[in-house]
């Protein structure tokens, strides 16, 4: 049993024009201690997936079906009080917007200490000590002073460090990070990433890392999940995916990467390549492959038949009629 098992997840939004199928039949696993990267163009359902894991998606307008099993328990029918005990304690979350994700009227120390007081019934003094310890852990200088400062007194990078401190304060088994570096300067991005890498080895949390940055994927994750239009189109180890991307969409995304095997450190920020064309309207019924209108390899069959997700090589899944299949994998 994996730590997190997502099965046939459906996230639909009722809108004026119809039902937006933001996530449609998504399944994936995250093992304890493992780092899974999730990539895909904006709007493909990464954020709503991560929010649904913590039960933070507003329903309505959202409607969620399928299963999200954490340690074997399906969170989609867990009670709100059970979810509250899970949030911040067993599953931590970091968001994309460090400038606005901290409450402006409480000190950094109060905000880090809150989860400790909530989940470990710690006293005010204990929570403050833990906050200082966490600030030191996330590399904020003079933590004894910073603990009493307010968010507006911290830079963007410092605020994201503080967010990481909040998310990790109770040693969660799973950390969900939704584009934690996207809003930061390139040099700060590298620092935050190094920090997360460092903390992973110390804390041992599993990580679901949503990112636009292939440099981050290469540096950080063991496995990659590529999403397109609310579905998984490819999944493989980082090595396999970079070496032999099998889905034309992934191949398009990877076009920006200089050459396979060349160094992809955190210093080199490599954004996903732009792929011509637009994502299909998810509130209209789709026929055939969702990528067909933009795919350079599309054939007549692609517009008729939706390609199933298949194992194309050991541990390598792709959803494409024409993705090469290794002989041994069939």
């Amino acid at each position: 049993m994996a730590l997190l098992e997502v099965r046939d997840l459906q996230i639909h939004f009722r809108t004026a024009t119809g039902v937006n199928r933001a996530v449609d039949g998504l399944s994936f696993d995250i093992e304890a201690g493992e780092a899974l990267a999730v990539v895909g163009e904006s709007g493909c359902g990464k954020s709503v997936t991560s929010m649904s894991i913590l039960g933070l998606l507003p329903t309505p307008p959202g409607k969620i079906a399928g299963q999200i099993r954490f340690r074997g328990q399906n969170l989609l029918n867990a009670s709100e009080s059970r979810m509250r005990k899970l949030r911040g304690a067993e599953i931590g979350m970091i968001f994309q917007e460090p400038m606005t994700s901290l409450n402006p009227v409480f000190t950094i120390g109060q905000q880090i200490g809150e989860s400790v007081r909530l989940h470990e019934k710690a006293s005010r003094a204990e929570a403050r000590d833990r906050a200082i310890e966490m600030l030191r852990l996330v590399g904020i200088p003079s933590p004894e002073r910073r603990v009493d400062e307010y968010p507006h007194q911290l830079s963007g990078g410092m605020r994201q460090r503080a967010m990481i401190a909040i998310a990790l304060a109770c040693n969660p088994a799973l950390l969900v990070a939704d584009e934690p570096t996207t809003a930061l300067d390139v040099t700060i991005q590298a620092q935050i990433l190094d920090l997360m890498q460092d903390l992973r080895s110390k804390v041992g949390s599993a990580v679901m890392l949503i990112t636009h940055d292939l440099g981050v994927v290469a540096e950080f994750a063991e496995r990659v999940l590529v999403m397109y239009a609310g579905r998984k189109v490819e999944e493989a180890t980082v090595r396999d995916l970079f070496r032999t991307p099998r889905h034309p969409y992934t191949q398009g995304l990877l076009k920006a990467v200089p050459r396979l095997g060349s160094s992809l450190g955190a210093e080199t920020s490599v954004r996903l390549a732009e792929i011509p064309g637009r994502v299909p309207d998810l509130s209209k019924p789709l026929r055939g492959c969702a990528f067909a209108d933009r795919c350079p390899r599309a054939q007549e069959v692609c517009h008729r038949i939706d390609p199933a997700l298949e194992t194309k090589a050991a541990g390598h899944l792709a959803a494409c009629h024409f993705a090469p299949r290794e002989v041994s994998a069939a």
Partner: protein, 313 residues
């Protein structure tokens, strides 16, 4: 910070001065001979002469103003034309009921309006939200004296739970004091409940969309903690501002309420003094109310720095 406070206090001086000049001129802005106005319809020529003397009308306006203002600064508002008593003493006797009425009104308004506004924002668009907002519209539009008579008729006359009229000084016990104030304060609080509930709802709606609310929930904070700690703390600046503005409203409301419920407060004294054309008392009351208003708004300005750490002067 202390430099700001000093500057802010100094900046109220022109306002206070302006109000003083205005209040002092009231009598002289009215058409006709001030002494004749003060003396009333049945006055003899001697009465008018006596008043003219007492007011020092033979001297120039600036000289008289400086004399009067000097007295005011020492706490001496002159002598009542009607009772011949010192105005300061008359006012001090009437302060307690009015201050009590205002404090209890504000307490009732805050305790009811803030949870109402928070609940309406939390359940936006629901039946509850619409019911609360309908109540808020009624609070604005139904005249205070109508609400007052309806409440008095039901709660006091029919059910006998509360005294119909009159005031019990706080010195005679908290409970009788509070019982004598519940009806008038509940009546007066209607407008405030409407005002504060609306601003609370509007501000909370905006704040509940903020990223830090999501962060609070992601930590595992309970719903009421998210609403009343994380969100409401951020909504306090607009709420406190409205409360401050509302004090002006409350002053005019007190005049009506004290009359309806026979509370011997400053509002009643105002009405009595206007009917008696007791100008020194009227001047003193207007001046005091203006001063209270200026002070409250000063305190509210200063409270922003306590409420929101981003505000620094």
């Amino acid at each position: 910070m202390s430099a700001y406070i000093l500057r802010r206090i100094l900046s109220t001086i022109p306002v206070v001065l302006f109000v003083m000049i205005f209040v002092f001129s009231l009598l002289y802005l009215a058409p006709g001979d001030p002494a004749a106005i003060l003396a009333g319809d049945q006055a003899t020529q001697e009465d008018i002469e006596a008043i003219r003397n007492q007011l020092g009308l033979d001297r120039s306006f600036p000289v008289r103003f400086v004399e009067w203002a000097g007295g005011v600064l020492r706490g001496d508002f002159g002598t009542s034309i009607f009772t011949r008593e010192p105005v300061t003493g008359m006012i001090l006797q009437r302060v307690e009921p009015t201050v009590s009425l205002m404090v209890v009104t504000l307490a009732i308004a805050l305790v009811i309006a803030i949870p109402m506004g928070v609940a309406a924002a939390w359940k936006r668009g629901s039946l509850l939200d619409r019911a609360i907002m309908l109540f808020a519209v009624l609070g604005f539009s139904v005249p205070v004296f109508v609400v007052g008579y309806v409440l008095a008729w039901t709660l006091a006359l029919k059910l006998g739970w509360l005294p119909v009229q009159g005031y019990q000084p706080i010195a005679e016990g908290i409970l009788p004091w509070l019982r004598s104030l519940i009806l008038p304060a509940a009546t007066l609080s209607g407008v405030y409940i409407a005002l504060i509930a609306r601003i609370t709802r509007a501000t909370m709606l905006e704040i509940l969309q903020q990223d830090y609310i999501r962060t609070a929930r992601a930590k595992g904070a309970a719903g009421h903690t998210v609403l009343y700690v994380h969100a409401l703390r951020n909504a306090l600046v607009p709420i406190v501002t409205v409360v401050g503005l509302g004090v002006a409203l409350m002053i005019s409301g007190a005049v009506v309420i004290e009359t309806v419920f026979a509370l011997p407060g400053l509002g009643r004294l105002t009405v009595e003094s206007i009917l008696r054309r007791d100008y020194p008392v009227i001047q003193a009351i207007i001046l005091i109310f203006s001063f209270v208003y200026v002070i409250i708004n000063l305190l509210i300005d200063l409270s922003y720095t306590l409420i929101d750490p981003r505000i620094r002067y």
